[in-house]
């Protein structure tokens, strides 16, 4: 009996305490390394000096003024372009990715996984190869320097994300719900609209979010392909080398705020999707 009592006591002893502490310390340092640089940029944007310093020398909003109201400010144009391109990319990528996910998840063929991999593969191709390959083909097609050219290229790399997220949601989706609806006389289109879509909606929106941010932050394709259509990442790329004023810090701060919002949205959607996946199995739920 004493061996059993001893082993029960051993089971209650917190495992690897020193190891866990060491890991936590390292973890804290690593998290600091990860987030401090990003956070540090924010106070820098309020400095009144011409060079970004921390702590900020005096407090001033002049760099935000520069961002929004400078007479030939490229910042607002670039932001507008990026917004337009990213939104269109999100729409197209979501459309293509969601339809493909729906189709391939129901396809009972040994080619289904090959086709799925074909859709996901662009994510793994080095972006520089994509950017250059696409550039050489799009220029003769007069797609360079246009919004739709960039949207097209961005959609190609973003579709895979939407496909992945929606496929994952469909895997957890209870197909008997669809069958139940159809047995009640709903045609497939109605079934999709009233049963499937509401349940996978958070995943669809998540995929759209990933597609949006893929385009919003994208540098390389924009660098080669966007021509006169300046995008926000491309503007920062050029200015980081040539004009290191704190206006970039102000732009960065605004971008960080946007990122935080998008991150929160993504998390909310993820939880919503989880809830629906687990809740869908419950009988009697509307």
């Amino acid at each position: 009996m004493s061996a059993g009592a001893a082993s029960r006591r051993a089971a209650h002893r917190p495992p690897r305490r020193w190891g866990t502490t060491a890991a936590t310390v390292v973890a804290a340092l690593v998290l600091f390394y990860l987030s401090a640089p990003v956070v540090v940029v924010i106070p820098m944007s309020f400095t009144s000096s011409r060079y970004p310093t921390f702590p900020p020398v005096g407090l001033s909003l002049r760099w935000y003024d520069e961002f929004f109201f400078a007479p030939r400010s490229q910042w607002l144009t670039a932001t507008g372009n990026s917004l337009e391109i990213a939104t269109l990319t999100a729409l197209c990528a979501t459309l293509l990715g969601t339809l493909a996910a729906l189709g391939l998840s129901r396809l009972r063929s040994r080619y289904a996984s090959t086709l799925a991999m074909a859709i996901i593969f662009p994510i793994v191709i080095p972006i520089v190869v994509v950017a250059i390959a696409v550039y050489l083909v799009y220029v003769p097609l007069r797609l360079n320097g246009t919004v739709h050219g960039v949207v097209l290229a961005h959609t190609m790399i973003a579709t895979g994300f939407s496909f992945l997220v929606v496929s994952a949601a469909l895997r957890n989706f209870d197909i008997t719900l669809e069958r139940a609806a159809q047995s009640l006389g709903a045609d497939p289109f109605q079934t999709f609209r009233r049963i499937t879509l509401p349940i996978i909606a958070p995943a669809v929106l998540s995929g759209a979010l990933f597609a949006f941010i893929t385009s919003w932050d994208e540098v390389l394709i924009a660098l080669f392909l966007s021509g006169n259509v300046m995008t926000l990442p491309r503007l920062m790329w050029e200015l980081v080398r040539t004009d290191l004023t704190p206006t970039i810090a102000a732009a960065s701060t605004l971008l960080i705020v946007v990122s935080t919002l998008l991150l929160t949205l993504a998390e909310l959607l993820r939880r919503s999707q989880e809830r629906r996946a687990s809740g869908a199995g419950r009988a009697g739920e509307p």
Binding site: L96, A100, P126, I132, A168, V219, M236
Partner: protein, 299 residues
């Protein structure tokens, strides 16, 4: 809910009709995926294949472009530097990321949420913002130098920017979340009872970790390593902005050869070599892990 009636009625019309309908259904499912596949085929795969074909057909059927990549010492040096840096960065990400993933997996509730915020916020921040941040932190007049000088710890500025050090710092900073998230997702689903079982059999904390926890967490480590390595080989922004004159990676060389020097054959060859590197990494991974775990990351 009584649904057997209507279903049996419609299912009985004979296997013949059922099989035909099933075939049509499958065909229509394929049709749903068609737009994505066609679009990708025309606007992505075709351009990439064309670029790759150029590497052997530009200017005339030849392997010269590949010979050049390996024969000219400085180009070989670029390939080697790319490989070296990618491996180093991968190892750093794993070493730094493992404790973080572990701590995340062990943390509960609000502690974990807070940690995740600090991990995901940089992940969702634009790479240009992060590059800018490092430039103002590492520069001659940047944060670190200014503080260390003020505190009297150093008497001369440290060269922290425009060199290999800055490139590594920047790349690890960007790629760490890609290592941590797969490791975390595996660790969080680890069966703790196995650990307790080992303990109850008399294993000390180190042994429990080394013999039980680590092997169980290995799939996550491999997935993270693969992802980081593949992304690292194709890096362009970080070595361009934070690196010195000899910190040139393959992506920059490709850009130069194609955009500035119109050596499309040679640029295509370099692109092929980069893809081969990625393919080798995937192949290696498929031997020791399962590619399907990568898909599972979305969940």
């Amino acid at each position: 809910m009584q649904i057997a009636g209507p279903i049996t009625r419609t299912l009985t019309p004979g296997l013949d009709t059922g099989a035909r309908l099933e075939r049509r259904r499958q065909l229509l499912c394929l049709g749903l995926a068609a737009p994505a596949l066609l679009a990708l085929g025309v606007f992505l795969f075709y351009p990439v294949v064309r670029l790759l074909l150029r590497s052997v057909f530009d200017p005339s059927p030849t392997l010269d472009n590949y010979v050049r990549a390996f024969a000219v010492p400085q180009y070989l040096g670029v390939l080697w530097y790319t490989l070296q840096t990618s491996v180093t960065v991968t190892i750093l990400c794993l070493v730094l990321g493992y404790p973080l993933a572990y701590a995340l997996a062990e943390a509960r509730g609000s502690a974990r949420s807070v940690m995740l915020v600090f991990l995901l916020l940089p992940f969702w921040t634009s790479i240009m913002v992060r590059t800018y941040a490092w430039m103002v932190i590492l520069g001659d007049q940047g944060l670190i130098n200014t503080w260390l000088l003020q505190l009297g710890i150093i008497s001369r500025k440290l060269p922290l920017l425009f060199n290999s050090f800055a490139v590594h710092v920047g790349m690890v900073h960007y790629l760490l979340p890609f290592a941590v998230l797969p490791m975390f997702s595996i660790m969080v689903r680890l069966d703790r009872t196995l650990l307790r079982a080992a303990q109850s059999l008399g294993a000390g904390p180190w042994h429990v970790f080394w013999r039980v926890y680590l092997p169980l967490s290995l799939p996550g480590v491999l997935a993270g390593a693969l992802l980081v390595f593949i992304l690292a080989t194709g890096f362009f922004v970080t070595p361009s902005q934070l690196g010195g004159r000899s910190d040139v990676m393959v992506a920059q060389l490709i850009q130069l050869q194609i955009m500035r020097f119109t050596n499309w054959g040679f640029g295509g060859a370099l692109a092929v070599l980069l893809l081969v590197l990625v393919a080798l990494a995937l192949l290696l991974y498929s031997r020791v892990g399962r590619l399907s775990t990568l898909w599972g990351m979305g969940e």
